[in-house]
Point group: C2
Chain length 149, copies 2
């Protein structure tokens, strides 16, 4: 299992960010960016809260991280598998490692990431999967808007 | 030539947005999103101005456009060819048509966009190309940071 205790902590943090967004009436998708054991930033989806269509969980986290001269020694944690926007961003930013809590409720871009040499780990985090599944069932229109379906 | 007078107007607008960013001390990259002849929003790179690494010209424009239920009848104009983040976003948002002022100073993702069925038009807008070339020559570190080199 390639997940360290550090990873497990940041997996929980991305889940907590997702939960925070849900409590705010938003989409329950959260993310964290870390350099080894050091947290750089965490964030969550802001479509509802800020009316911002580009602020997926990963994007909000990267925005909050501010200007980094390099991402080459970072890991991006995300509660849900990255869409094409976020996957493109991970490639562009040269983030070498991505840990995903949930590839069940959304997925498909893991192969794209791997084809760019990125290590992709499916953490199969049951609380994230359950929370997202429940949200989608209750809010299909909002979910479809967020993934542009 | 597939460029209409409407296109030419929005090409100028994306150039003007780039110029505005330059005047603010930022990267001279601008963008506009339109539905036919109707402007939805325009924006420009905000890396310097807001310390925001995800706010490339296209992203700032899409953020300012707010929540759109569909992008299927829109055109995205950009003063510089989209990076992998912005190209991924165009695919994710299902924007069907992209007009690029400058594929000389940066490029490479046109094939990726076309492989997703997107119409990509190289407008070869000399003022945009000249402005970007001059900026890169004078500010190599800022430019390299923006493209994560």
């Amino acid at each position: 299992m390639p997940l360290s205790p550090t990873d497990l902590g940041f997996i929980e943090l991305s889940f907590e960010e997702a939960k925070r967004s849900l409590e705010q009436g938003g989409l329950p998708i959260g993310s964290a960016l870390a350099r080894g054991a050091t947290l750089i930033a965490s964030g969550h989806n802001q479509r509802v809260q800020q009316g911002d269509p580009i602020a997926h969980g990963e994007m909000d986290c990267l925005r909050k991280a501010g200007r980094q001269l390099t991402y080459r020694n970072t890991t991006l944690y995300t509660s849900l598998s990255p869409c094409m926007m976020c996957a493109g961003t991970i490639v562009q930013f040269k983030i070498p490692r991505v840990v995903i809590n949930d590839t069940i409720n959304f997925g498909g871009n893991e192969a794209f990431l791997r084809s760019h040499g990125i290590e992709v780990i499916d953490a199969a985090h049951a609380p994230s999967i359950d929370q997202m599944r429940t949200f989608i069932a209750a809010n299909p229109a909002l979910w479809n808007e967020d993934i542009m379906e």
